[in-house]
Symmetry: C2
Subunit: 308 residues, 2 copies
Amino acid sequence: MNDYSTRLHTAMQAKRTAALVGLDPRESSLPAEFARILQDHPGDRFERRARAYEEFSRRIIDVVAPFVAAVKPQIAFFEDCGPAGMLAVRNVMQHARDAGLIVIADAKRGDIGTTAEAYASAWLAGSDPSAAPYPADSLTVSPYLGSDTLTPFVDAAIQRGAGLYVLVRTSNPGSGSFQGLVANDRAVCDHVAAEVERLNQSTRGNGSYGSVGAVVGATHPLELRRLRQVMPTTPLLVPGYGAQGGTAADIRPAFDGQGLGVLVNSSRNVIFAHLRPPYSEVAESRGWEAAVEAAARDFASEFPVPAA
Amino acid sequence: MNDYSTRLHTAMQAKRTAALVGLDPRESSLPAEFARILQDHPGDRFERRARAYEEFSRRIIDVVAPFVAAVKPQIAFFEDCGPAGMLAVRNVMQHARDAGLIVIADAKRGDIGTTAEAYASAWLAGSDPSAAPYPADSLTVSPYLGSDTLTPFVDAAIQRGAGLYVLVRTSNPGSGSFQGLVANDRAVCDHVAAEVERLNQSTRGNGSYGSVGAVVGATHPLELRRLRQVMPTTPLLVPGYGAQGGTAADIRPAFDGQGLGVLVNSSRNVIFAHLRPPYSEVAESRGWEAAVEAAARDFASEFPVPAA
């Protein structure tokens, strides 16, 4: 019960959705009321931005918590606020856990040996939020350095009841430049996928899924189908839905018969719903949080999960 | 004069060495006097560790600054101290810049689009330390997500007079698992290298080198020679010397006729010199900083650069 995939799937069944909201705050897209914090809050420009991102993210969490199982803070935007941003994202992550949400730190970390251990120790709190300085349930990691550099993350995930999502096939237009190179009749991303499935097996226990997941973009639907076959017991995190062009139909083949095994991410289409129709009209009449609520509710209903 | 490779090579000629000291603090290897900070400093265990790492790193910088041109803080170890660790590493980086050193943030960041822009904005201060929340001259980045994800880093590097080191062939034993896969008669790392050289050309100006560098481990001497040929104008950052098994003879072919174009990293063999002969004897008689000084001096003399 304390392993990551059990906690994740229990949460998805409780909320009845595979929807995941990405917390990607950007100064230029924040609702108008945040101009006050950005201009008047004490501190330098980095500290003011950190304060605005924390407040915005907390309020997003309060609005979306009834509708989704998980949130994914994008660490880069907080890192660009300096040390104050890291305090902000830690507080945001704790707030999300207090709201009963699964927290995926999207940091795409990766390094060798004891350095990988340090990253794992920093981010993988897992079942006990106080086990790490940043209270994430799971972490995105990059595989380029090699399979031996993933092992310290897997070991830490097992020890702490945490999860991983290894980058396999990313959603950006140029993701094929190295991931798509073909070696021994298989794309590089397929080699990575096979290794992820192998590592995942060591974390499976009695469950259908293990705790070593994979990132596969919705923008490559054929690859998504193929890679799901290479990784049948691996939880998937699927970015690229909506704003980047992936559709619900592109993603459906990756789910299992219970509607599980996949989390679908949407970031700006939910958190900045006030900027686009039809939600911009909701924002005009009832405020930006009402727009976020409507967008989160619609997004969640796109990817229904039957109750347990 | 404000571009990264000019600043770097000027500093190497001034110090007459290609040696680079990695700042990889680890609680279990700190000199005995730091036990006091780790036990008694105010704050939680993460804040105490951050304080110890900052103090240790500052004193390392004070000792090695006369002998080397650059230092490379390993961000993972500071990240594992939570937000206090990020404040510590910012202070350490500023202290190094105040000491006239080139600062390479070893963070191995990488992401897509505007997220990559945020990482670049966070770390690439370049010629003006106040331009970013973390005052690094250059940053290590991971290429797995694709060539289009390197472009925002290159654009920021050009704009800020900063540098990059893209992971090409890393020093760990398992680095071949994906980097060594052969596609179209070339290893994946050679494909990455060709792309790095191409991106680097756009930053070259009139200099021999550009500001987009590459990480190639000393533990793969044949690859190092071959990759230098693929990347003739790319500054190299070479880890794996010493503790990991690479020798000075393995690295020499990567240098140009002026002894430039390569920085060689050593971390624990210098900063934890008090733990190994012959420097442990120096530490016993004259203290740990004398051991670091002796190790740094010896290391610097292994990779001499003629004066300009």
